[in-house]
């Protein structure tokens, strides 16, 4: 086994390194800078060069960078990183020993995203795929369509004098929305952002990603009347905070793949859910698995057992590494 499933995370014994370990280890290869993949406390980190800005907000220690597709050797194991299309700097990890190739997908999506490089299919013998949304009910509408829905919802609220508060993840989703809204010539009102987003927006800008003209920090507004036509971006945790009170009579929406399920949206007492995810949906999981040409598929994170049972029935050699619950993903909602 080139890669094993251990109590600290995925481990490559031949190269003596971990991939996205959830406990401190000497050497970690990081697929991307979300909190459930990039943990504090390792001695050294290896990541794809475009991901250095967000990663250095999350961890300390030595960060080694390589370009996408660049091959290095770790204790005789050939290692390279390839775009995963998930968020800025996200990577699949390709590991090769004596001609045998394994790929760890990390989190990925196949949809275009203006804030990161598109997913690249990497041929391999064994493909370790995420399966956060591993059920056929998870199918994403096109991103363009969702942005239009957000735009229309915001326009409607602005016309009625209601602030639109949009909850989305601090890293990745928020910048994707900002970048996509930036393509409109005219917007229904001003855009504000919760303080927690400012740092990440700056990191994206330093990395050369064109976001919409700086959204104003909420704190600079000296008068709450300015919010009546505004779109306010905030992390999901803001929903239950008193911070939200300043947006009187606001409509609250959330952007997440989980919003595909009405019950989840209703449980969170949201007015509106927008179905946009940075993960692969069911069709994308199946397409990707088939395109890698892998002889063997291992599913981690999420509903791996349904995905692999389905694959096995289709004649694919597949198993789920779900004996331990995976750390809760960035996308996990309560």
């Amino acid at each position: 086994m080139l890669i094993q499933h251990t109590s600290r995370g995925l481990y490559c014994p031949a190269g003596d390194f971990y991939i996205d370990p959830w406990l401190p280890v000497p050497r970690a290869v990081i697929t991307h800078a979300h909190g459930d993949h990039a943990r504090f406390g390792c001695d050294s980190y290896l990541c794809a060069a475009p991901g250095v800005e967000p990663l250095s907000l999350r961890v300390e220690g030595i960060i080694q960078l390589i370009g996408y597709g660049e091959q290095i050797s770790i204790n005789g194991v050939r290692v390279s990183l390839h775009p995963a299309g998930h968020v800025l700097g996200s990577a699949q990890v390709r590991v090769e020993v004596k001609g045998e190739v394994w790929v760890v997908s990390g989190d990925y999506k196949r949809e275009p995203d203006p804030t990161c490089a598109p997913f690249e299919v990497v041929s391999c013998h064994t493909f370790i795929t995420e399966s956060t949304f591993g059920l056929p009910v998870y199918r994403w509408p096109a991103g363009e369509r969702v942005i239009t829905q957000i735009y229309e919802w915001w326009s409607e609220n602005a016309a009625a004098g209601r602030p639109s508060v949009l909850l989305s993840y601090v890293m990745g989703k928020s910048q994707r929305i900002l970048a996509m809204l930036g393509e409109y010539d005219e917007l229904p009102g001003p855009v504000y952002a919760h303080g927690a987003l400012q740092q990440m927006n700056e990191a994206y800008r330093r990395a050369g990603i064109a976001l919409m003209d700086a959204p104003n920090p909420v704190s600079v507004a000296n008068n709450t009347d300015v919010f009546t036509t505004a779109l306010v971006l905030a992390p999901p945790s803001a929903q239950s905070s008193s911070w939200l009170k300043r947006f009187k009579g606001c409509a609250v929406g959330r952007v997440s793949g989980w919003m595909r399920i009405r019950g989840r949206r209703r449980r969170l007492a949201l007015d509106k859910g927008f179905v946009m995810s940075d993960h692969a949906d069911w069709p994308a999981l199946l397409t990707t698995i088939s395109e890698t040409g892998a002889e063997r598929v291992i599913a981690t994170h999420g509903n791996g057992s349904a995905l692999t049972r389905f694959l096995v029935e289709q004649g694919v050699c597949a198993e789920a590494w779900t004996d331990k619950e995976w750390p809760e993903g960035e996308e996990q909602v309560q």
């Binding site: 056929p136 009910v137 399920i261 019950g263 449980r267 007015d271 509903n303």
Partner: protein
């Protein structure tokens, strides 16, 4: 159909009742009466029988999505709603929906057919092909029911009243009873002449407040009328214009569910309104009827029709405790004791049997005596006392001071979490429905299911525990390592041959999570059996 789908989306896209009401009003303002009649029918939860059923929905979805049945079930479990699962599994497509709602329902959904299952599946798939994702969801909901869109009968009633400028209780009254959603129905529902509904109008119920203090704090016990607090359904029985109406506290007209009460109330003079408790009772225990526990009465509830057999097995009676209208005059402003005297005379005059009886006064010479009697509440199958100021008028709603309820404390036991199942609707995909066990010798046997009592943070914690401590999965149910101990509260306890433990408890809920206890500290079945009331003569 298109307009209805839009209404549904509007209702679903806000969490605020006021905005749901606005959406309903704007729909009722311009909807064709026939469509509007169907919308009222469905949204208040009355669903006509359709040839195509949930079974065909499943079959068609499995076929259309080309997935194995187990994967459909796994998806359903994650989604927690059948119609929604279907709409999410099929390819989304842009479609302009044509045809009115009443056409879809009357000419398609409810038409009789001799088609076999496979033909029905084909028909349904054809309909789905005409619709986009939200259209499929709405159509499938018309088959499966359960809108889960935060619209209650009250909200519908309010929206109709607003739209047509009618008093709310008039609309509520017109929505009661049996009707068909035809043109005439909607016309009657929205008619501005309200004389039709006056006869059946109830009074707002007066509610007792919980008494947290000692009985003695009420002062002289002779100033108070003490009654048993029956464990039944609060109701008003109205006799006006030779008609009988029975209203439950939920502003629901329940006359049809209690034909024996309607018959008995026929003997009341016109212009009479009684307030009391509907209880199940046993006819065998003559000369005095014995009130049965609530779970017997429950067999009579929520049915459209009550069969002869059930009428014989679970007869009901009204234990009347107040008179609100006498000889056509509203006497709510007179003193409680005067109303009660009038009530006693009235009940005595009509009585052929016990179907309408007076709820007897509890007699005591001091609060100490009352306290002793209160302790016998459990054996008497009552919830405690209701205590009324003899001089007080009949008020509106819950106003502290003149009516008190003095309940017995609930039973509590410590039990171990054994099984968990995912919830539905807003609790979809979270493990929120729990089964608990207690010790019998060295085994844990199930004693009760409880769905409520934990806060959101605790639910998430238990959800995580369940996922990480699953022993076995049986369909949607997981058995878990017996580790968590919870304190359960319940109101009553009975022997039951239907439960493995031999015990049935009433209204079990989680009162707290006993993090300080381990499974060996949980209760045994023997200690719980000891709680069973010993029948009192």
């Amino acid at each position: 159909m298109k307009r209805f789908i839009q209404l549904y989306l509007e209702l679903d896209s806000t969490n605020k009742t006021s905005r749901k009401e606005t959406a309903l009003i704007s729909y009722f303002q311009d909807a064709p009466p026939r469509d509007a009649a169907w919308v009222v029918t469905y949204l208040i939860g009355k669903r006509p029988r359709t040839a195509i059923t949930a079974k065909h929905v499943r079959m068609a979805a499995i076929e259309a999505a080309s997935i194995p049945p187990w994967l459909f079930e796994e998806s359903y479990e994650a989604v927690g709603d059948l119609a929604e699962t279907v709409s999410l599994l099929l390819d989304d497509q842009d479609r302009t929906t044509s045809g009115t709602l009443s056409h879809w329902i009357e000419d398609r959904l409810i038409t009789r057919t001799t088609a076999d299952d496979q033909e029905k599946v084909t028909t349904l798939r054809g309909w789905w092909d005409e619709l986009d994702q939200s259209g499929r969801f709405v159509l499938t909901k018309l088959i499966t029911g359960g809108w889960r869109v935060g619209v209650s009968q009250r909200l519908i009633t309010r929206a109709l009243a607003q739209t047509f400028d009618l008093p709310v209780d008039i609309v509520a009254h017109r929505l009661m009873g049996r009707w068909q959603p035809d043109d005439g129905f909607y016309e009657r529902l929205t008619a501005s002449d309200t004389r039709d509904a006056e006869a059946g109008k109830p009074y707002p119920f007066f509610l007792a407040s919980p008494l947290e203090e000692d009985l003695a704090t009420l002062g002289d016990c002779r100033d108070w009328l003490v009654e048993w607090k029956w464990d039944g359904i609060r109701a008003q029985i109205i006799k006006r214009c030779d008609q009988v109406f029975i209203w439950s506290r939920g502003e629901e007209l329940v006359s049809e569910q209690f034909p024996e009460l309607v018959a008995a109330a026929g003997a009341l003079p016109n212009g009479t309104v009684l307030d009391g408790e509907i209880c199940a009772y046993s006819k065998e225990s003559s000369p005095h009827p014995k009130v049965l526990p609530f779970n017997e009465l429950q067999r009579r509830l929520g049915r459209k029709t009550v069969g002869k057999k059930l009428l014989g097995e679970v007869p009901v009676m009204l234990l009347a405790y107040d008179l609100l209208e006498h000889g056509g005059i509203d006497i709510r402003g007179t003193a409680c004791s005067d109303r009660r005297n009038l009530l006693a005379v009235l009940v005595r005059n009509i009585n052929q049997d016990d179907t309408i009886s007076i709820s007897a006064e509890v007699n005591g010479a001091s609060w100490d005596e009352f306290s002793t009697l209160h302790q016998s509440s459990r054996e008497r199958l009552v919830e405690g006392f209701v205590i009324k100021d003899r001089q007080s008028p009949y008020g509106v709603g819950r106003r502290r001071g003149s009516w008190w309820k003095f309940k017995v404390d609930p039973y509590t036991i410590d039990a171990v979490l054994l099984y968990a199942q995912r919830g539905h609707g807003r609790r979809a995909s979270l493990y929120t429905d729990y089964t608990f066990g207690v010790w019998q010798d060295d085994q844990l046997i199930t004693i009760a299911k409880a769905y409520s009592g934990l806060n959101d943070a605790e639910i998430r914690e238990v959800d995580r525990f369940v996922r990480q401590n699953t022993i076995e999965r049986f369909g949607p149910v997981r058995s878990v390592n017996p580790t968590l101990v919870m304190e359960l509260s319940f109101e009553a306890i009975q022997r039951s041959s239907r439960h493995k433990s031999g015990i049935a408890v009433r209204f079990p809920r989680i009162s707290r999570w006993r993090r300080d206890k381990k499974p060996p500290d949980a209760d045994t079945i023997e200690t719980i059996m000891a709680l069973l009331p010993s029948p009192k003569r």
